[in-house]
């Protein structure tokens, strides 16, 4: 890379020690039933990002915009179509064999649905210890001890090791998922909507637990959610995604207080607050139309079909995701104007 190249989110100069660097990541899925049999879903379409060691990066966006796909490609549950994911200095899209195994141990994922993501025929002990066996890290007594330790850490009674997932509540199941993710002592965790399926009072328990674990074990999180309030609360920085692309990145406070991208502004204005006085003053910006299909995303700026301030140029020239100020990236021809 030449010295004067403009910074991308992957080379954000304001970050001190990025643990994960994602460059131009693309993930296409074949779309069934296209007229010419060759259509693709542009689920993730050229994403660049960096995640600082020890931070929580929030990822928000509407359903179907590609958040989960991005998360799954990062942890290599799905192969990338093109692009790179660097973890420390290893390119996860290329690495194989022993090195892959060692790297994967450091990267874990927590899933949205605490019901579907746990094998109903395995006991909690087996579920939590499975990664230890798969990676040949520990077995027998040692594995048992490790399992009991992480169960205690996530607030599950270690006496429950022989119970099955259906005997637990949603919040407890999410704790089981977290215990399983922690057992290999990872440094980086992708949490895909870890609290979306939970009741409000239980959400708070899990959010607090994740914050405690991060402080205790120096974890780095990619926290995926569609609820901007939760993401704002837990994240140091936020990346906003629309139709397969990142449209804005900034610190959580900056994203909320001074959204640069019109889509971020719309999201921010749509979130209700539990205060009737503020609510009577809030005017959500309602979007026209619907989220377009990722099979045929709109030309140039993908938001132009719904953007309240779109101009001619928006459908002709794609706005790059540029650094607009220190640590602030936005992909818009008219940033901050909505």
């Amino acid at each position: 890379m030449s010295a004067q190249a403009a910074p991308t989110p992957a080379t954000d100069p304001t970050l001190k020690a990025p643990l994960v660097r994602i460059e131009d990541l693309v993930k296409y899925f074949p779309a069934g039933g296209g007229l010419f049999g060759r259509t693709v879903v542009h689920a993730v379409d050229g994403v660049s990002l960096a995640i600082e060691a020890g931070e929580t990066l929030g990822l928000v966006g509407e359903s179907g915009c590609g958040k989960s796909t991005l998360g799954r490609v990062i942890v290599r549950l799905l192969p990338a179509t093109s692009g790179h994911v660097y973890f420390k200095d290893t390119d996860l899209t290329k690495v194989r064999g022993e090195k892959l195994r060692r790297t994967r141990q450091e990267i874990q994922m927590i899933f949205q649905d605490p019901y579907a993501s746990l094998n109903p025929r395995m006991t909690v002990g087996d579920i939590v210890s499975e990664p230890l066996r798969n990676f040949g890290v520990a077995r027998g007594r040692k594995a048992e001890q490790k399992v009991q330790e992480v169960m205690r850490v996530v607030g599950l009674n270690p006496n429950f090791v022989n119970r099955y997932p259906h005997e637990f509540s949603g919040g407890q199941r999410q704790r089981i998922g977290i215990a399983r993710a922690l057992v290999l002592e990872p440094t980086f965790i992708v949490a895909d909507e870890p609290v979306s399926a939970l009741d409000v009072s239980i959400q708070a328990q899990i959010v607090n637990l994740m914050e405690d674990l991060q402080a205790k074990y120096d974890l780095t999180f990619l926290f995926i959610a569609h609820d901007l309030s939760v993401v704002k609360h837990i994240s140091d920085r936020i990346a906003v995604m629309y139709l397969g692309k990142i449209v804005e990145i900034g610190t959580s406070n900056a994203i909320r207080d001074r959204p640069l991208h019109p889509y971020t502004k719309v999201l921010e204005s749509s979130v209700p607050v539990p205060d009737p006085d503020l609510e009577s003053a809030r005017k959500p910006i309602l979007l026209k139309g619907e989220i377009p299909s990722p099979v045929n995303p709109p030309s140039a700026c993908r938001f132009h079909t719904r953007c309240p301030i779109a101009q001619q140029i928006c459908s002709e020239v794609e706005p790059p995701l540029e650094m607009k100020e220190n640590g602030r990236f936005a992909a818009c021809h008219f940033p901050g104007q909505l």
Binding site: S169, G171, N208, V266, P272, D277
Partner: protein, 325 residues
């Protein structure tokens, strides 16, 4: 609704899903029912239509609609009541629409089913109804199938079917839970407009306190099948008296928070309705409980002329509650 009780006879004994609920709602009013899943919100709503699923039963209480008691209505009367006076909107619009029939036809059927319209009138009204719920290019979309609609449009279509008969009571059970925030915002605006246009009473059932703040005049908070607090929205949010309401409001992250504050979490889980604790049903999770809470269940008492709470202690009597929570 007076002293309503809904029970299920299960293999593990009798489960009381709704226990002694009283409330009133007027035309033009929007009342929110909030609570965690399983707290009895849906059963309360279904009982207004006498639609409690088997083996559930309304075992006591009266549901007065004007002068009439819904519990006592004949089958004929209840059918008429459901068809002409009340509309119910559910969480998942996909499961309530028939996937193989065109959306426009389903809206037409819904109207034709009511005595109020002839088939021809129903046909004529489909496009205006879809326009009324702000489906863009409604004329071109009437011949679409449900899967060609987005989640938000399906919810609009459901609402169109519900309100096509100009009901005087609209019950929306988690109408936006499955939707994105941007879509949620537009559905909430739609419900607000419709309640004005139709002068209908609206019951919004949700677990999202913020939605209630935005839409409702009055709030009912449910816990373990009981109303634990109710009152005008402003009072409930500014001056909650029940520890459950108070904690719930502090357990959700707010987008307008300035400094990162730790969320107040409610420890433990809601009780299993088959194994209810004695005393106050919230006492195993309550941080403000006193001895009496373990053995005696508090009544839903007036704490203010408009506000009632079911608690022996009340938050106004707890100095510096944050330090205890």
């Amino acid at each position: 609704m007076q002293d309503l009780r809904v029970q299920f006879a299960t293999s593990g004994g009798t489960v009381t899903a709704v226990d002694g609920i009283d409330f009133e709602i007027d035309r033009g009013e929007i009342v929110g029912i909030v609570g965690e899943s399983g707290s009895g919100k849906t059963m309360t709503a279904l009982s207004i239509l006498r639609l409690i699923p088997e083996p559930g039963k309304i075992t006591s209480g009266r549901i007065l609609y004007g002068e009439k008691d819904v519990v006592e209505m004949t089958d004929e009367e209840i059918r008429e009541f459901r068809g002409n006076e009340v509309a119910m909107i559910f969480q998942d619009p996909m499961t309530s629409l028939n996937p193989v029939l065109r959306v426009g036809f389903q809206v037409e059927e819904a109207m034709a089913a009511h005595a109020r319209f002839t088939r021809d009138q129903a046909k004529q009204r489909v496009v205006p109804m879809l326009q009324r719920v702000r489906i863009p290019a409604a004329k071109d979309r009437v011949r679409d199938y449900p899967h060609q609609f987005s989640g938000g449009m399906r919810q609009r279509a459901m609402i169109a079917m519900g309100v096509s008969n100009e009901p005087s009571l609209l019950i929306a059970d988690e109408p936006t839970t499955a939707l994105d925030v941007t879509v949620q915002a537009s559905i909430i605006e739609l419900l607000r407009d419709l309640s004005r246009e139709l002068r209908a009473a609206v019951i919004l059932i949700t677990h999202n306190m913020a939605l209630v703040a935005s839409l409702c005049n009055r709030v009912i908070v449910m816990y373990a099948g009981r109303v634990v607090e109710e009152g005008p929205t402003r009072a409930i949010f500014k001056n909650p008296q029940h520890p459950y309401t108070w904690s719930l409001l502090r357990s959700m992250p707010r987008i307008d928070e300035t400094a990162k504050e730790r969320l107040i979490s409610i420890k433990g889980l809601p009780p299993d309705l088959g194994k209810m604790p004695p005393g106050c049903k919230f006492h195993p999770r309550c941080k403000f409980r006193i001895d009496r809470c373990f053995t005696e269940e508090p009544p839903l008492d007036e704490v203010d002329p408009m506000q009632r709470a079911r608690c022996w202690v009340l938050m106004k009597n707890v100095p510096e509650p944050e330090t205890k929570a």
